[in-house]
């Protein structure tokens, strides 16, 4: 039913958490005390749910749409592996997903 996520927070601390497929990655991450701010609530307007997806998972997460790419393009802490977690829908195929929270801009 639920899947596991491995998340490194902004202090470098690792967390093993449970998530439900169907929702967005952001919705899971914002439940945590150390989680993302997600100020706009998933409208792809604010880029405050920025994460880095581990390289081995890069081709398993759904591709970026143009509005996500537009926001990411101008982020100070953007990397190759950057994603806005509100735009990543969780599926069973992402069981074990490994990611790191990006610093706040």
């Amino acid at each position: 039913m639920s899947i596991r996520l491995h998340v490194v927070d902004r202090n470098g601390e690792a967390h093993d958490i449970e998530a439900s497929p169907g929702g967005s990655l952001m919705e899971t991450l914002r439940e945590e005390e150390w989680g993302v701010a997600a100020i706009c609530g998933g409208m792809c307007s604010c880029a405050t749910c920025h994460v880095y997806i581990a390289p081995e998972w890069a081709d398993k997460v759904p591709e970026r749409q143009s509005d996500e790419s537009d926001l990411l393009a101008e982020l100070q802490f953007r990397q190759q592996s950057s994603r806005l977690s509100c735009q990543v829908r969780l599926t069973d195929a992402l069981n074990g997903l490994s990611l790191t929270l990006a610093p706040e801009e």
């Binding site: 945590e32 706009c40 509005d67 926001l71």
Partner: protein, 428 residues
């Protein structure tokens, strides 16, 4: 929950269960605060996001739990108490006590006021009767929208009073549900207080193209009611106009909830007066969000903002103060509004501008409007231009002059004007 225990001498109370209140509580925990924390909220819901109320939630695309900032389990895990459906009647500052609506009292060590605001009500003589009617609503809370959306049915005639962001978002949502929509704006143009005439004209055209009967320079003078008196059937306006209605939604602004602070003798002036650390005129009381008047480094004056980014960022500053790690609130304001296929993102405050520069094409629904004052860039409204919005945030924050011709020139990438961002962190 043992929330009424008075044995703890370091209990932090947060009065106001909205976005600022929820964020403040979790931010306290993030900053290592171990004190008992309790949020007191008048509504029955967990702290939630209001922006979707006039959009996805109104359209029925999302349900209540997805509006919550965090689910119940997260509050329990962080040991944050919730006293919901409860009102604080008054603050006894000398005794550091809160008195609840049922007469009970608790003692606080520190207090945070995140009381937000309430919908401004109409002042026509029939407004009291209208507020008892089943099809007349203001829009501020989940309960308001649950009532509205139960009547949001295709073919119904909706009259929206107020052409601000809330009114226009309601209109766009109702069009998506195939209602017949009329928008009434008292001023000569929609969004008059926040944007340039060019932007107003653009949004007016978009709504008219979508089928909205949008009227400006028109005021509501009275209402017709059903024989039983519990349903509004028509809206009378200046010029002798009568508009039949099945549903009326009023979005004419927000009033900050400052009465509690005022009665307690705190400084209040268009909001609860706070300093750059979110501290009120009482050093044991902080305040954050829509209810505060705060010094803006960016604007060089006191401002009161009605926005989620302000609620979140000021709440974090207030939490830092309570956690003994004070820092200054110096964020540049920003806002967003989604209507139809238009993603509008705004940064800065355009008030007082003397020049507007347009980059891109309104016809293609992809452009940015830059607001300048004495040559200095003070604000930007970007429509379907997320990337340029992100650059504009940096440009506006720089508080500098920019050549209007260059801002308008699409052959010059906007980011070549921006101060270089700090070096990225090492690859993880």
């Amino acid at each position: 929950m043992t929330l009424m225990s008075s044995d703890s001498t370091n209990h932090i109370y947060i009065v106001g269960g909205g976005h600022a209140g929820g964020e403040l509580a979790f931010s306290l925990r993030q900053q290592g605060c171990a004190s008992p924390i309790t949020i007191v909220g008048e509504e029955s819901y967990l702290p939630y996001q209001r922006p979707p109320l006039s959009k996805a939630f109104l359209k029925g695309e999302v349900e209540v739990p997805s509006l919550y900032l965090r689910q119940q389990a997260a509050f329990e895990k962080a040991n944050i108490g919730l006293l919901l459906s409860r009102r604080v009647e008054r603050i006894e500052r000398a005794a550091k006590q809160l008195v609840f609506d049922d007469g009970r009292e608790v003692t606080y060590s520190k207090l945070a006021l995140t009381t937000g605001g309430r919908a401004r009500h109409m002042t026509i003589s029939q407004s009291a009767q209208a507020e008892r009617a089943r099809n007349f609503h203001y829009l501020r809370t989940i309960d308001d929208v649950l009532a509205i959306r139960s009547r949001l049915q295709a073919g119904q005639r909706l009259v929206v009073v107020g052409g601000g962001y809330v009114g226009l978002e309601v209109a766009a949502s109702a069009v998506a549900r195939d209602l017949n929509v009329t928008v009434l704006e008292a001023l000569p143009r929609v969004l008059a207080r926040v944007t340039a005439p060019e932007m107003s004209a653009f949004y007016e055209q978009v709504h008219r193209n979508a089928g909205v009967d949008l009227r400006t320079n028109i005021e509501v003078t009275g209402l017709d009611f059903s024989a039983e008196g519990d349903v509004v059937t028509g809206v009378h306006c200046t010029g002798g106009v009568l508009i039949p209605a099945d549903l009326v939604v009023v979005g004419i602004g927000l009033l900050p909830n400052t009465e509690l602070a005022q009665a307690a003798g705190l400084d209040v002036d268009n909001g609860i007066v706070v300093d750059e650390h979110a501290v009120t005129s009482d050093p044991d009381i902080v305040a954050a969000g829509d209810c505060t008047s705060h010094p803006s480094v960016f604007c060089g004056r006191r401002i009161r903002l009605e926005s989620v980014p302000n609620a979140v960022e000021q709440a974090r500053v207030a939490a830092a103060t309570l956690a003994g790690k004070p820092r200054s609130y110096d964020a540049v304001p920003w806002f967003w509004s989604d209507q139809y296929d238009l993603k509008l993102q705004m940064t800065g405050l355009s008030h007082g501008y003397d020049q507007v520069v347009l980059r891109g094409s309104m016809d293609n629904k992809s452009f940015a409007a830059f607001y300048l004052k004495d040559g200095r860039l003070i604000a930007c409204d970007a429509v379907n231009r997320a990337q340029e919005f992100m650059v504009a945030k940096r440009l506006v924050a720089a508080c500098k002059s920019f050549d209007p011709a260059v801002l308008a020139d699409e052959t010059v990438p906007l980011k070549t004007l921006a101060p270089a961002p700090a070096a990225p962190p090492p690859q993880n």
